[in-house]
């Protein structure tokens, strides 16, 4: 286990991206991020260090300028195809996972309320698995991602109209350690 962690730490350091979630605690304990007084809003890690002119000092997953800050993508009715506008988002998350082997993500699929419930569970799993596959194409390993299918059981919006349904047909990328 110790060697594994060392290996992961090495991977994190060698990556261009700061903020391997495994190391969050250590970084906070070190207090590096507190100096400039711009901590992340959710009490998570607060590292800085990208010297390429990007002055965002929070966790890369929270960087509003990065595609990584988008963690929900939406689908067409009865479809599990990822729409073109989300390709860059998933590419960024895939690359982030590839560069941070110690980070795990839950790929949570959802459906709108129309139709039968267990069919919607299966449909939402198809969505989650499509996303999972796109992440692995970017180099995320199979044990970094887990597809969970919730069907129509956890809507974000209650309402029997197109706008509510659109917002509920989604896949959420949940980083449990973040």
């Amino acid at each position: 286990m110790k060697t594994y962690q060392k290996l992961l730490a090495g991977l994190c350091l060698s990556s261009a991206l700061a903020g391997c979630s495994m190391l969050d605690g250590d970084e906070q304990a070190g207090g590096n991020g507190a100096i400039d007084g711009t901590n992340g809003t959710n009490g998570g890690a607060s590292t800085s260090g990208l010297s390429d002119g990007n002055n965002f000092t929070g966790h890369p997953l929270d960087n509003p300028a990065s595609a990584l800050s988008t963690k929900v993508i939406y689908f067409a009715f009865d479809s599990h195809a990822v729409e073109p506008q989300y390709e860059a988002v998933l590419a960024a998350h895939g690359a982030y996972l590839a560069a941070n082997a110690g980070v795990a993500v839950i790929v949570e699929g959802h459906a709108d309320e129309r139709g039968s419930r267990e069919y919607n569970v299966a449909l939402s799993e198809k969505r989650a698995k499509t996303v999972q596959n796109l992440l692995s194409l970017q180099g995320a390993s199979g044990n970094q991602t887990e597809a969970v299918a919730l069907g129509e059981e956890k809507p974000v919006v209650l309402g029997h109209n197109e706008e509510s349904w659109r917002l509920n047909r989604r896949v959420e990328l949940i980083y449990p350690a973040h």
Binding site: E113, G115, A122, L123, K126, E146, A149, H160
Partner: protein, 434 residues
């Protein structure tokens, strides 16, 4: 009298109940005038010290009204209140246009128990059709009343009554902390005596009765992943079925209780598996790259029907339990899902999309004739009463989800509302209960 009036579609009978556990309010929204007139006289209980906790005649009257087959006479219109045959003047009841009459009384028995005596009469012949003496306790009066309803219903319709059965359903509503609480509850078929069998902060779904009615299987997302549990109702003890990566869903008991059909996605896409309760082994039944889910057994236990989108859109297919080729059953419309058999095996009911609306439809297997039974826009989860007389399903009501029932001929409609939350996925119990 106009034809419309004679058809008399709106009975608007509101039966408001208050029971211990968050009652369901049942409202008959559409009835038929072909219902048989019947008079159920309040049962006398003069000899019972302290009186009765339950108005037995009212429970019977409500049961029979909900079936849509009967139109009970209002007590205000009764000219007399007989409680035994010698007090009955049949001409009075004939004059009121009643076909049948029920009278009864409750007598004290030994050890603080009670005896209920009742008689059912044909008003025109002036004859007794049936009569029983039933032992009961004060706490068992509702159950006894439902048994009397069953006896009356069977005598007059030739079909077994389903008033003594129960329903299971899923509720979700904000709990004390404001976060949503998901529950599975079990109540009497009339919505009384609801009891919660499981509560979770994560979704629970797909309650499925064992053939004896002593257990419920269901899907729970506790721990954020789906698993199937089987819970013994009496003890509350439950067993978790071995769970796999991916979907663990849609449990359905075989009629002989030896097997549980379910959906797993461990080998890729969602497929139907059969779990053998005795050998504790899983057998894969369908192999497709498409979604296969929502298995349901034929009453003879030889076939399983399921939803599959292998043809591009969800449709219902049938496969022998022993395996083999799946045969498509539904061809009407672009969306048919969540099918189950009628108790006689002659038809299936399902969720059917028509003009963008999701409704409950029934398909007669011999003729391929589809009929639409419900009139909502988001209707789902149809479940037959064990006698085939009614179908329970869920429907949207404003922003809420409520239960509704329709007679199997589509003529009588009811709504069941729960105070303060969503109610969905009704599952009507089988006859046998322990």
């Amino acid at each position: 009298m106009s034809k419309l009036k004679r058809v008399g579609l709106f009975l608007s009978l509101i039966l408001s109940f208050s029971a211990w556990g968050g009652a369901l309010k049942i409202e008959i929204t559409q009835g038929v005038s072909s219902a048989q007139p019947i008079a159920i006289v309040p049962f006398s209980s003069d000899q019972v010290v302290g009186g009765l906790l339950v108005d037995i005649a009212q429970v019977i009257s409500d049961d029979l009204a909900r079936s849509g087959r009967f139109k009970p006479l209002s007590r205000l219109d009764m000219l007399s209140k007989p409680s035994s045959s010698e007090q009955v003047n049949f001409r009075n009841w004939q004059a009121l246009g009643q076909d049948n009459l029920v009278v009864g009384k409750v007598l004290p028995a030994s050890n603080g128990r009670l005896t209920i005596q009742f008689q059912l009469f044909d008003v025109y012949k002036g004859e007794q059709l049936t009569g029983f003496s039933i032992p009961a306790s004060q706490s068992g009066l509702r159950a006894a009343a439902h048994r009397i309803s069953d006896l009356i219903y069977e005598k007059l319709t030739g079909q077994k009554g389903a008033f003594s059965t129960r329903i299971a359903y899923v509720t979700s509503m904000p709990g004390r902390t404001g976060a949503v609480e998901y529950k599975i509850q079990v109540a009497d078929a009339d919505g009384f005596g609801a009891k919660t069998i499981v509560t979770s902060s994560e979704p629970v779904m797909s309650p499925a009765w064992s053939p004896r009615g002593d257990k419920l299987s269901y899907v729970s997302y506790e721990g954020r992943r789906s698993s199937i549990y089987t819970q013994t109702l009496r003890s509350g003890q439950r067993e978790k079925l071995h769970s796999f990566k991916g979907i663990n869903g849609a449990p359905a008991w075989s009629p002989d209780a030896s097997q549980l059909a379910l959906t797993l996605s461990k080998d890729g896409s969602a497929d139907i598996y059969v779990y053998n309760v005795i050998t504790r082994s899983f057998r894969r039944l369908t192999r497709s790259y498409a979604i296969d889910t929502e298995p349901s057994w034929s009453p003879d236990g030889r076939h399983i029907i399921f939803t599959s989108d292998r043809g591009g859109k969800p449709q219902i297919y049938r496969i022998p339990v022993s395996g083999g080729k799946a045969e498509r059953l539904t061809f009407e419309g672009v969306y048919n899902a969540r099918a189950s058999y009628s108790p006689d095996g002659k038809r299936i009911i399902m969720v059917h999309r028509i003009n963008g609306q999701y409704r409950i439809a029934s398909l007669e297997l011999a003729t391929g004739f589809t009929s639409i039974l419900s009139n909502g826009s988001l209707d789902e989860s149809p479940s037959y009463a064990p006698n085939g007389s009614m179908i329970l399903y869920s429907t949207s009501d404003g922003l809420k989800t409520i239960l509704a029932a329709v007679s199997s001929d589509g003529k009588v409609h009811q709504k069941l509302r729960l105070q303060g939350g969503d109610v969905r996925e009704p599952a009507w119990s089988p006859f046998k209960q322990y």
